[in-house]
């Protein structure tokens, strides 16, 4: 099989991995360096960015997970890269500025340890022989030994373990060979060592790195019956307990047509995925807690309204917020004010009182924010409204629902 044929098989097999991030690391080698902000190099026709050479080392699998195209029961073309082939591809692509680095995952061939060992070799050789300073993201294989996970963390910028499904019941139904413990153990190990390395490096600049860009995970949405509340609670828990940087959601794509354990969906639930990402943003950037966004009475996100607006309308009695005096935390809770504009408001109001024309310049989305704020005690153009009326107005202005086809945020 030529390298190009392998590429076709193993890039295709890797495409459902949602992560594309190349941010959070600051490294430099003889060839290659990383940008703390990350960098996108291209965008495919599905609108997702290409930042890393995202491939599987192999799609030969000993497991039979129901949702996976590469499960051993499927009759698909199989291929396995040699370690040096991956290294050369990464180097040649990097020299031409096609990519920020490598994202290497794999099906489990021979054994978890064997697979992880091969993947780790790729990272090790890139760093030690090629002196490669670009970004490397390695997927940890559930069931691999902790020594291998540890080495992976030494060479990679990010190591991630896929949690695959939102509950252990779903996991044992759809991926019976993967055990919850095999997923959680490396996750806890990486979280712990990442934290330690961070502390060490603060004391000593030369202390060894351990996955400096942190870890992430991914789960499939819509293949199993878990509610949005369950998924958000789980995400919150992962952020808190294992210091995860990101939780990725992947709208379920029915790749195995005759699988009785899985639902038949005409379309992947992209809008639901979008709403979950919006809620995830609230957890990570806006200091929300999962229980504020959803509760047992309302276990699912409103498809018509973004979760921040939803929260603001449920708590309409706590508004309006006075722009000239509110603290940062409250500014962040106003629909139409993002992290950047909240920071700008804080610094701009030190130079003078702000009114609505100033807010527009600052970048506040007034068509959303106007119902929730006052400037020097005044509403925008004397506007006053009830929660129900505001809800109607916001829904009309929320483009995704009107088109129901967006899928941003990769």
């Amino acid at each position: 099989m030529t390298v190009e044929e392998k590429m076709a098989v193993l890039a295709d097999a890797a495409k459902y991995d949602a992560s594309c991030s190349s941010s959070g690391s600051n490294r430099k080698g003889a060839t290659g360096a990383t940008l703390p902000s990350g960098c996108c190099h291209s965008w495919t026709p599905d609108g997702r960015c290409v930042s890393l050479l995202k491939i599987l080392l192999s799609n030969v699998c000993i497991y039979d997970c129901a949702y996976c195209i590469n499960r051993c029961g499927n009759d698909v073309k199989r291929a396995t890269f040699a370690v040096d082939e991956v290294i050369n591809l990464t180097a040649e692509f990097y020299r031409r500025n096609y990519i920020e680095g490598l994202f290497l995952s794999s099906a489990v061939f021979v054994s978890p340890d064997h697979t992880m060992e091969q993947m780790m070799q790729v990272a090790k050789k890139l760093r030690e022989e090629k002196h490669f300073g670009g970004y490397i993201h390695l997927k940890a294989i559930p069931g691999a030994s902790m020594e291998l996970i540890d080495q992976a963390g030494r060479y990679a910028d990010r190591v991630s373990v896929n949690i695959e499904l939102p509950s252990s019941a779903s996991l044992s139904l759809l991926a019976p060979e993967k055990k919850k413990g095999d997923i959680i153990r490396p996750m806890a190990y990486i979280g712990e060592h990442w934290k330690q390395a961070q502390i060490e490096r603060r004391k000593n600049r030369k202390a060894p790195r351990f996955a400096p860009a942190g870890q992430s995970t991914q789960m499939i949405i819509g293949a199993t019956p878990e509610s949005d509340k369950h998924i958000l609670d789980l995400s919150q828990n992962l952020y808190d307990s294992y210091s995860l940087k990101r939780v990725y959601f992947s709208a379920y794509m029915p790749v195995n047509k005759h699988e009785a354990r899985l639902p038949l969906l005409p379309m992947p639930p992209l809008l639901r995925e979008h709403r979950l990402y919006q809620a995830d943003w609230l957890l990570r950037m806006y200091k929300f807690k999962a229980h504020e966004i959803l509760n047992d009475n309302e276990p699912n996100l409103d498809p018509q309204l973004d979760p921040k607006a939803g929260w603001a309308l449920r708590n309409f009695h706590q508004f309006p917020v006075e722009i000239n005096t509110a603290d940062y935390g409250w500014l962040l809770r106003v629909p139409g004010i993002g992290v950047l504009s909240a920071k700008r408001i804080i610094s701009a109001r030190r130079t003078g009182r702000l009114d609505f024309s100033h807010l527009r310049r600052i970048g506040v989305v007034l068509k959303r924010a106007q119902y929730f704020i006052t400037c020097s005690g005044k509403f925008h153009a004397g506007l006053r409204s009830s929660a129900a009326a505001v809800r109607q107005a916001l829904i009309l202005k929320d483009k995704p629902t009107a088109q129901a086809k967006q899928l941003q945020l990769f």
Binding site: T31, S42, P45, D46, N97, A348
Partner: protein
Amino acid sequence: MELEYQYDGSPDGVLCAIADAIKRKEKPAAIVGPQHEGLLFADRIHAVQTDEARADEVIGYFRKKGSKEAARNLVYCLAGPFETMELELLAYYRMGLKLGRSVDRHHADEVVHAVHQAARNVGREIHRFKGLLRFRRLEDGLYWAPFEPDHDIISALAPHFRARLADQRWMLHDLRRQRAVVWDGKRLYAELEPEKLLKGNPVADEEVGVQQLWKTFFKSVTIEGRKNPSLQARCMPLRYWRWLPEMEQT
């Protein structure tokens, strides 16, 4: 008393106009280059002399008196369409001298906002091309990166690539402005005759194969069930596609 400054239309010219206005304590009603109409009734016209060394001093002084960020905003603005905002740049400069680093806190101010917006547009294109620039290996081993940016960003990009591609010779080549920057393995310099390096130096044989692999990757990693070409075009504007191997029609 309507005062008009005339300069040669270059970025250095704007900086010298700013220096003149500060030094002479004047408030020109217009600062215009040769491409633009001046005032209808100018009482007095001052011709600005462009001087590169002096222009550098203007930036250096601003870095010291204002801040590093403010100086960078000014430089970025001058890489973009600055020919309609000379007066704003002068006002921003004056504010920076007076307020120091806190000038950039004035997000609600019209002048600061205009400068920030213009600088942000240029900054965005710089970041975009850190990703979208594509090198091609030529027969003699030079990696050639042709591109057609909206703004004059080549000198802002060069240090980024020196940091990551130091062990290969390369040339960034802005085809719109016919400007080029070369890294020869030791030194970064402006190449005044980029064609000379390209003449009799076709694309290397291996290049076709590597581009083919990249195209295969690009095609395979696309999820057909999530097609969204408008999102793709929004993230990666069509005008940049010409030099991207993966967007070539096959």
